[in-house]
Amino acid sequence: MSEFTRRDTLKMGAGAAALAAGSGLVAPRAARAALNIQPESGAKLRLLRWKRFVAGDETLWMENTKKFTQTTGIPVRVDNESWEDVRPKAAVAANIGAGPDIILGWYDDPHQYPDKLVDLSELADYLGNKYGGWYPVAESYGTSHGRWIGLPLGAAGACIVYRQSHVQAAGFDGVPGDTGGFLKLCQALHAKGTPAAFALGNAVGDGNTWAHWILWSHGGKVVDKDGNVVINSDETRAALEYAAELYKTFIPGTTSWLDGNNNKAFLAGKISLTANGISIYYAAKTTNHPLTPDIYHANLPVGPVGHPAELHLLTQAMVMGYTKYPNAAKAYLQFMWEKEQYEPWQEAVQGYITQPLRAYEKNPVWTEDPKNTPYRDLVARMQNNGYAGPLGYASAAVMADYVVVNMVAEAASGARTPKQAMERAQKRAERYYKV
């Protein structure tokens, strides 16, 4: 170049600037994927979570929490409460505006006080994109009107837990995958003196799980998608008649069973089949129980409705609106949900919690002991407890008042006819779903 005019300099400058801007356009996209949450300075967090069901849970959770504190310098205090007490405590904390920063609740807790919770959409999208997407039911539990208010941790789910030798002695290879065959199995087990049994008392975990499965697998439901109560229906009647037939094969006393009774009865050899979390197997393994090799698992059978229709105890984290450190809370949640922390934790929990994100299906814990595998797909197989309507005060109140459990118990035990039981349940549910 002979002469370097000002114009040339300006052109070069513009070119260089355009280049810089162009490359700048590429970099921010990569930065978005990294989700840079800046915790507040001087942050410290209080987490209220439900007390562990299996020992490994608490050990790994605290280990991961310590790692978080070491990496970020944010101290986290973890309080453990009995799992039934966490829900009212969360509600009270939300109501009075003070308490733990993060609470690990259950089911539709966030939908009771959605305005009192921090928006977690950014975090949820990041985790969903990175780990294969959320299962639809996890998204329905975590979002309210398109906004994420809860971060599902997973579900403590139930499968059929059975004694292989007794099932084979009754003439079956395993648990049939359809409700018709399942009834025949229970009848055969009863005839052989090795009966099945399910909880029909006000058992907040086991009772709700299997009562809703009975109802939904036959096509019944409490509400339709517009929130109209439709529990009084032919499908529900079919479900209740099925439950009554099943009840005849149970051992006596199940109408008084709370959550622990079926565990006790199974491990004592009094029953050969029940629906429960993996805790029976876990307890047997860790105490070298003689029954351990005979314990097998199968998914809950599919009913006339043609697809899995189950309810499992979904647990999710909520960040309370009154917290002084929302970013620190989100950073903590991100850390605990990342593969480096979540997978070892799931491993330690021995499959007690089924993941809410698809990528964790590949966690070796599900295949290293083949008996764990049925528990892997529980979040994929479940519906939310407000099915088929929206989650909120009504869905939570109906479940807390044991409307479905009482209905199934009444019809199964013969205390009322299916028609009466349905009508009572309809009336009770309508009270909660009125506008």
Partner: protein, 314 residues
């Protein structure tokens, strides 16, 4: 003394000094701590509870005043009326039996016997053990698969199958009433024992000299003298039984199918896990009329009769 003399003839005292002198104001001042406690921890929650029953407050959301709507709904709610029935049955059955056993125990313990102090201490144990702990023990005793009672009876050959204590309404109600009686008898027994010991021996001597037998002594001397004590003890016993929560919650959670739900447990179930604070408060408030009746009943029993006061004048 000298201060009041000074007050008459001396200079005008300061306000503080006059307050200290005035016995009425001083009395009020001494009552202040107790009043604060009563107002803050009893009157205020009671008032708030009654107010909540008139709103549709839920956990997590403020409510609006809705008048008697909660009560209107409860009038139609079969589960609520079932809980009222259960509570009445539970209270009446348990109280009557507790009174009978308690009185009998008190009469027994009033006699001369060896190790009296030791036996009295043992009798008091069920009352002292925290209710939740004894409830958990009863939960195992009533277990349909593992009950010790069933095991003993089976081993003795008296029954074939384990008893289903808590699985159907009748046995479940009987079982929780039995647990309540076990826990509540000591209170009645020890209190009545104390009352028995205030009956002057001279009355018994006089009646014996008049030719009264044991039953007549009991009917014409013991019972009338005990009536005020009985009124107080049974009022408390009825109040505790009516508002019982722990036993039912641990044993059955109100099951099977709501047949052992008391008003207290139903109120809790609706208010806290269910989230409907207004409705739960309404159920709890509905207990008040029954409790007032019990208190009024005992108030009349407490009235000292003239002839009782003359008893001390031999």
């Amino acid at each position: 003394m000298s201060q009041s003399v000074a007050a008459i003839s001396g200079p005008v005292l300061s306000l503080g000094a006059r307050v200290r002198d005035s016995r009425d104001l001083l009395g009020l001042f001494f009552m202040l701590p107790a009043t604060v406690v009563l107002l803050a921890f009893m009157a205020y929650p009671l008032g708030l509870g009654i107010w909540l029953g008139l709103t549709d407050t839920t956990i997590g959301r403020r409510g609006v005043f809705i008048g008697l709507e909660n009560y209107e709904y409860l009038m139609d709610d079969s589960v609520f009326w079932l809980s009222v029935f259960n509570t009445a049955l539970y209270t009446v059955a348990a109280s009557v039996i507790k009174f009978a056993i308690g009185l009998y125990l008190a009469l027994l313990l009033n006699k001369r016997m060896p190790f009296k102090a030791f036996i009295r201490a043992i009798v008091l144990l069920p009352w002292i053990v925290p209710t939740v702990l004894s409830a958990i023990a009863f939960w195992w005793i009533y277990d349909a698969q593992f009950s010790i009672i069933s095991w003993v009876l089976v081993k003795l050959g008296l029954i074939d199958e384990y008893i289903d204590f808590l699985g159907s309404p009748g046995p479940a109600r009987a079982s929780v009433i039995a647990a309540n009686i076990w826990r509540g008898v000591p209170f009645v027994a020890i209190s009545l024992l104390a009352g028995l010991q205030t009956v002057p021996a001279s009355l018994y001597e006089a009646s014996t000299m008049d030719g009264a037998n044991a039953w007549q002594r009991f009917r014409y001397v013991t019972m009338p003298m005990l009536t005020p004590i009985i009124a107080v003890v049974m009022t408390f016993s009825v109040l505790f039984t009516f508002t019982d929560f722990q036993l039912i919650y641990v044993l059955t959670r109100g099951g099977p199918i709501n047949t052992t739900h008391l008003m207290a447990t139903l109120s809790f179930q609706r208010a806290i896990p269910g989230g409907h604070l207004g409705e739960g408060a309404a159920i709890a408030t509905a207990m008040i009329p029954f409790l007032i009746v019990a208190i009024v009943f005992s108030y009349y029993g407490l009235q000292n009769r003239k002839w009782q006061q003359r008893a001390g004048n031999d």
